[in-house]
C-alpha cells in the first residue's frame, strides 16, 4: 500500500490529518495541535494549537487556537503518540515562570553562534553566515 502513494507532500501527509501533530518552525517555535488540512506547499491548518517551550526537564504550554502556517516556515511535522506522551518525564510549570529561562537560553544560544561564526571566519577561513543563520 505504501508504495502506491508517491512521495509527495500530499502523499506523506494524508495519514496525519485529524491527528495530534508537533510542528517545529524555522524560528525554533514548537507547536502542537490537530492537523485539519494541508496543501502541496505544506501550508498547514492546526486546530486547538498550543505552543510549548522547554527548559531542562521542565516545559510550559500556552494556548494559541487555530493556526494557518505557511509551509515555507515548517522544519518538521511529526505525530504525537498519545499513548506515550503522558509518560514523558518532564514537569509542566506555568508559562510565565518558564518564559524568562527560555528567553535566556535563546539569547545564550544566539551569542554562542555569533562567537562561533566569528572564530570560523577569522581563524578558519570560513565565509560569513548569510542572513538568518538559524541553521535550517
Amino acid at each position: 500500500m505504501d508504495s502506491l502513494i508517491p512521495f509527495t507532500t500530499s502523499g506523506s501527509l494524508v495519514d496525519c490529518v485529524d491527528r495530534k501533530m508537533l510542528v517545529v518552525l524555522r524560528d525554533g517555535r514548537k507547536l502542537q495541535g490537530v492537523l485539519r488540512s494541508y496543501d502541496q506547499f505544506a501550508n498547514l491548518v492546526l486546530e486547538d494549537t498550543v505552543e510549548r517551550i522547554y527548559y531542562r526537564d521542565f516545559f510550559a504550554e500556552a494556548w494559541k487556537g487555530l493556526f494557518l502556517i505557511r509551509g515555507e516556515n515548517v522544519v518538521l511535522l511529526g505525530e504525537v503518540d498519545l499513548d506515550k506522551e503522558d509518560d514523558v518525564p518532564l514537569r509542566q510549570v506555568p508559562w510565565e515562570e518558564l518564559l524568562p529561562y527560555h528567553r535566556q537560553e535563546i539569547a545564550a544560544k544566539k551569542k554562542r553562534e555569533e562567537v562561533k561564526a566569528q572564530v570560523l571566519f577569522e581563524q578558519k577561513g570560513f565565509c560569513k553566515e548569510g542572513g538568518e543563520g538559524d541553521g535550517y
Binding site: K20, Y38, D39, V45, E47, L66, I69, R70, L82
Partner: protein
Amino acid sequence: MLPLSLLNAAQNKPMLVELKNGETFNGHLVNCDNFMNITLREVYQTSADGDKFWKLKECYIRGSTIKYLRVPDTLLDAVKEEQTRAREAGRSARGAHVSGAGNRGRGMPQRGRGAMRGGPIRGGRGRGRGM
C-alpha cells in the same frame, strides 16, 4: 477545506499575522489571493521585540513574507456548517437523492486526498473538541 480556502473564508474576520521577521499585524482581513497576499484594515502592528506599536488604517502584506496566521477558533466550524448547508441545498435542488452509504463526497467537489478527511467525520485519534 484547504488552507487557502480557509483564508478566503476568513474575510472580514479578525486575525493575527506574523511575518518571518517576527513583526505581527492584528487586524480584520479585507481580501486575500492564492499567493497568500493579504490586505488588512484597522491594523495594530507590533515590532519583533514587542516593544514598538503602530496603528495603520489599512495595509497590504506580501504572501511570501508571512510566517503564520492565527484565525478565530470558530472559523473551522463555521466553514464546515456552510459547506453542509451548501451540500444540502444542492441535493434538494437536484431532486431528493436519498442519501446512502456510497454517496459520500458526491455533493461536493472532491479536492486533494487530504481535504475530505477533515469533513463530516472528525476525531480519529486526534484530540479535537471532543466531537
